[in-house]
């Protein structure tokens, strides 16, 4: 996958140029926009793209890269994806996928 490749090249980058840590980070941030690969799926709960931090996390001004990492994506067995933050709030109300109404169970989590 694209991200792994990128990871490698970055590590190489870092080794060649250890003093330039800040630079590498910035580069990473730009590369993190690889959402073209996964399509621009929008979280149907908060209506923000799942690859971005959810509306709540954004409101809590988790603007920087490290904080965004906490706001992960969750895929259900039905293959619908949401922010984990959004979905964990909803399942407290009703343990169904809000899109297809199937019983909600997590298939995988991540970014």
């Amino acid at each position: 996958m694209g991200d792994i490749e990128q990871d490698n090249s970055e590590r190489a980058d870092g080794e060649n140029n250890k003093a330039d840590k800040l630079f590498t980070l910035k580069k990473w941030n730009a590369v993190a926009m690889w959402s073209w690969d996964v399509e621009c799926d929008t979280c149907a709960i908060c209506r923000v793209q799942v690859m971005d931090a959810c509306l709540r996390c954004q409101a809590e001004s988790k603007k920087d890269f490290y904080e965004k990492q906490d706001c992960v994506v969750v895929w259900g067995e039905c293959n619908h994806s949401f922010h984990y933050c959004c979905m964990s709030l909803w399942v407290k109300q009703n343990n169904r996928c809000p899109l297809c109404q199937q019983e909600w169970s997590i298939q995988r989590m991540g970014k």
Binding site: L22, A44, I45, C46, R47, L55, R56, A59, E60, S61, D64, Y66, C86, L89, W90, K92, Q93, N94, R96, P98, L99, Q101
Partner: protein, 183 residues
């Protein structure tokens, strides 16, 4: 840079507003969602509906006027008060009918029975955070036409009368309409 982030993380202001429900200057999630939803609702408003925001700064409180152009309630003016709770869109808007009417799914006290407004439903027809204000408006306007449901009535008397005598039902609806829903 990292030290600065560490400090920001421990900022008492940030952690406070997270753990407690103090109304803050910050725009709430509900209000953020409503900015788009209110706009979308107005753009897709059915011909029979009018929306009035009592306070243009409060998108979470508004009145919906429905003037059905067909069916038993044709020509009546039916007002609904819609309140969107702070926990939106995890929980549905609260709807009250302000106009007294004779309707199987709306009680004379103004309680409304509409599936998408139900918080807990086992049939999957209830509220979901994927629904928006425009769906609520369309649902309410359909109560006067196609969503009319006699199986699970709030006004049993009205539902019973409909199944027994549609003509009498129509007369009773008109009586209420003339008395309470002329404008």
């Amino acid at each position: 840079m990292i030290t600065l982030r560490g400090k920001l993380k421990k900022d008492p202001d940030v952690s406070n507003s997270k753990s407690q429900n103090i109304p803050s200057k910050r725009v709430s999630i509900r209000d953020k969602l409503l900015i788009k939803e209110a706009q979308e609702m107005e753009q897709t408003l059915p011909m029979t509906c009018q929306v009035t925001f009592n306070d243009p700064h409060c998108l979470y409180e508004f009145t919906l006027l429905i003037i059905p152009d067909e069916g038993y309630w044709c020509g009546g003016h039916f007002y609904f008060q819609i309140n969107v709770p702070e926990e939106y869109n995890m929980i549905p808007p609260r709807v009250k009918c302000l106009t007294k009417l004779w309707h199987p799914n709306i009680s004379e006290e103004g309680d409304v029975c509409l599936s998408i407004l139900r918080q807990n439903s086992v049939d999957g027809m209830g509220w979901a955070p994927t629904r928006k204000l425009k769906d609520v408006v369309w649902g309410l306007s359909s109560l006067f036409t196609d969503l009319l449901n006699f199986d699970d009535p709030l006004n049993r008397e009205a539902a019973d009368l409909f199944s027994k005598d549609k003509e009498l039902f129509g007369i009773k609806v008109k009586e209420y309409l003339i008395q309470f829903a002329k404008r």
